[in-house]
Symmetry: C2
Subunit: 357 residues, 2 copies
C-alpha cells in the first residue's frame, strides 16, 4: 500500500487481531483514534524501508502492558505524540517516519494515528510481524539494535525514559513502571536509522496486515473460498475447532497470564489447552505441543470468522484455532532461542511448523 486511508482501517484492525494471537489489545479504541486522525489530517503516506533516507531517524511506537488493562483504561489521545517527541528530544533530532514496533492488536493502529498527527509517513515494516509480550522479543534486538532509550507515557501524561545497558535491562526496568502506570502505557523505543530499518526490520508488515484483514473480512462476509485463501496466504492451518470450556487468567507484572481450555466440537474427549502471556504461547493436546512460539496461534469465532482477543472470549464460544508460521527469521536458531518456548520458561523445545511457507 502507498497510503493508509479510512478504507483500510477495518482490514488493518482485523489483520492486527489475527497477528495479535490473543493479545495485542482490543483494537476498538485505537480504531476510533486512527479514524479520527485520518479524518482530521487525511491519509497517511506509507513508505517502503528502501525509500527511507538511510540516515533519517525512524520512530518506532507501540503499546506495552496487559491487554486486560487496555480494554478498561482510556487513552487521553496525546500519549503517542508525547512519547515520540520525548524520544526525539532524547536523541536530539527529529524523526522522518513512524514505524509500528509490532503488527498485532491496537499497537498496529496507534503508530498510524501518531504519524497522521505529526505529519509523518508510516513505514511499511515492523520488528516482529506479530505481537509479543516483551520489549526484547524483536528482530531488531536480534540484530543488536538497542531498545534504549525506551519512553513510556501513561494516560495522565507521566513520562518515564529508560536508558538500559542492554535490552533485557530495559525490559526489566520498564516493566514495574508499566505496572505502576496502571498496567498499560504507550511505548516509543528502538529508535533507528532508515538504513537499519531497511536491513533489519520486517518489510511489508502493514501491507501484510491489511491483506490478511481483507481475507478475514471475506470470511466474515461468507465467501466460500475465503478459508482456503486465508490458509494459502498465511501458510497456516486450522488445528482445532472447539468451544471455550474454561479461561483461567490473572494479571502478573502487567501481563495477562493464563490458560484457555477448548473442548472439541465433535469429540468432547479432545481438549486443546492454550497457554498465554498476553499472546498465545503454546497449543497442547493431550500433553503434546502442537504449535509453539514464535509461530502464531490465533483464535477465530467459528460462526462469524471474527478474529478474537483472549479478553473478548466468552464461555461456550465456538472457535477455530488458526496456526501460522512465524516470519522465517524467527526460525533461525537465535530466533528460536530468543522467542521459543524456553524463553518463556517452558521446559519444551520449539515444535517445527509443518506448514509449507
Amino acid at each position: 500500500v502507498r497510503e493508509i486511508t479510512l478504507d483500510d482501517v477495518e482490514d488493518l484492525a482485523l489483520g492486527a487481531v489475527v497477528l495479535g494471537t490473543g493479545g495485542g489489545g482490543e483494537p476498538y479504541v485505537p480504531t476510533l483514534m486512527v479514524r479520527e486522525a485520518l479524518r482530521t489530517h487525511g491519509p497517511v503516506p506509507v513508505v517502503r524501508p528502501d525509500e527511507l533516507d538511510p540516515e533519517g531517524l525512524v520512530l518506532p511506537l507501540g503499546i506495552i502492558g496487559a491487554p486486560t488493562a487496555a480494554a478498561e483504561k482510556l487513552f487521553n489521545g496525546g500519549e503517542s505524540r508525547a512519547a515520540l517527541r520525548t524520544l526525539e528530544d532524547c536523541l536530539g533530532r527529529k524523526g522522518v517516519a513512524v514505524m509500528p514496533i509490532e503488527v498485532g492488536g491496537g499497537a498496529t493502529l496507534l503508530p498510524i494515528a501518531a504519524a497522521a498527527e505529526l505529519g509523518l509517513p508510516v513505514v511499511d515494516a515492523d520488528s516482529m510481524r506479530r505481537a509479543f509480550p516483551k520489549a526484547e522479543l524483536t528482530l531488531l534486538n536480534l540484530a543488536g539494535i538497542s531498545a534504549s532509550p525506551l519512553v513510556l507515557v501513561d494516560a495522565e501524561n507521566n513520562t518515564v525514559v529508560v536508558h538500559g545497558i542492554d535490552t533485557p535491562a530495559v525490559e526489566r526496568l520498564a516493566r514495574p513502571v508499566v505496572v505502576e502506570m496502571g498496567m498499560i502505557a504507550i511505548c516509543a523505543a528502538y529508535a533507528l536509522t532508515g538504513a537499519q530499518v531497511n536491513e533489519f526490520a520486517i518489510h511489508g508488515s502493514l501491507t501484510y496486515c491489511i491483506e490478511l484483514g481483507r481475507r478475514m473480512r471475506a470470511i466474515r462476509e461468507g465467501d466460500a473460498d475465503a478459508y482456503p485463501q486465508l490458509l494459502e496466504f498465511t501458510g497456516g492451518r486450522l488445528i482445532f475447532t472447539g468451544k471455550v470450556a474454561d479461561i483461567e487468567r490473572r494479571t502478573v507484572n502487567a501481563w495477562a497470564v493464563g490458560t484457555l481450555t477448548l473442548e472439541h466440537l465433535q469429540d468432547p474427549d479432545r481438549v486443546l489447552r492454550i497457554d498465554f502471556q498476553n499472546e498465545n504461547l503454546i497449543a497442547m493436546e493431550a500433553g503434546v505441543p502442537l504449535v509453539t512460539v514464535p509461530d502464531l496461534i490465533s483464535l477465530l469465532d467459528a460462526e462469524t470468522g471474527t478474529p478474537m482477543t483472549t479478553e473478548a472470549l466468552r464461555y461456550g464460544q465456538r472457535l477455530q484455532v488458526l496456526a501460522t508460521p512465524a516470519h522465517e527469521r524467527w526460525h533461525q536458531p537465535d530466533g528460536i532461542a530468543l522467542a521459543g518456548p524456553r524463553s518463556f520458561g517452558y521446559d519444551l523445545d520449539y515444535v517445527p511448523f509443518g506448514g509449507t511457507r
Copy 2:
C-alpha cells in the same frame, strides 16, 4: 564554611548520621568516595544560597532506596556524575552548583564528591535538614517546586528518567524502578534556580551538619561538656537510655521498615519502641508517642557517643535516644501535613516538640 576539605569529612559524616535518624545509609563507602574525590580534585568551594546566580541551574543530588541495600551494594563511582549530566541534558543547560537533597547519611557526602569531580561548588543548603524516605518530603515540594524530572542511576549504569505530572507521581513511578535497580539508586531531582534555592531551600545545612559533627566528635573524645553543648546546639533532649532488646526489620518497596525495641537501662519495665521507615518515625513509651516525625529521633551509642544507623545496631547495644526539633518550616501546618505521622499511615497527631528551639 567556605570550602570542604579532607579535614571536614569526619565531622560531616558524624553529623550526617545524627541527621539521618537511623536511615540515610551507612556513610562508610560515601566517605571513602568523597575523600578520594577531594584528594584528586582538591577542596570543594561552598557557596551560600544568596551568592548563587539567581538564574543559574542548581543540581540537587541524593540517594534513594533502602539503607540495607546501600550497606551491601557497591557503587561504581560514576553514578553521581551520570545522574547530574542526564539532568543537565534533560533541561538543556549546564548546572552552576550541586546541592545535597538531604543532609543525612551517605546522601550528604555524595554530592560533595560529585561537585569535586565536576569542578562545581556545593551549595550550603538542603531541602529538609534531615533525611526522609520519600521524594516528596522536601520543603521544595512545599514551595511548589517539582521533583520532576527525577533521574535514577544504578551501579550498572542503567539510567531512568521520571517526568511525573506532580511530585507524588514521581515518587510512585520511581519507587518500583529503585526496587528493580537492587533497592538503591543515585538520584538527581528538584532541579531549580539559584533564586529558588535562596528563597525555598534550608540555608546553612552543610555548615550545620559539620558543626553538629564537631560536637559529636567532642562526645566521642570524652569532653565532659560535650553532651550539654550538643543539646544546646540542637535544641534537643535525651529521651531514653536503653539497650537493644529487639529489631524487627523487613525490606518493603525499597524501604527498610520495622521497629526497634529498647529496654531501659535502669528500669527494665520501661520499654521504648521506635518505628522506622528507613528513618526513625515515632518513639513511643507505654503506648504514648514521645516524639514523632518531622522531628528527629537519633540513636547514639551510650558508651562511645557514636551516632548509629539502624543497620549498624547490634543486640544488647546500649543507646542514648536523642530527640531534636525539625527545622521550623516543618512545624507549619502544611509541613506537618506533608511529613507528620499521618502521612506515614499512623492514626496519630504530631506531638509538638517541647524544646526551646
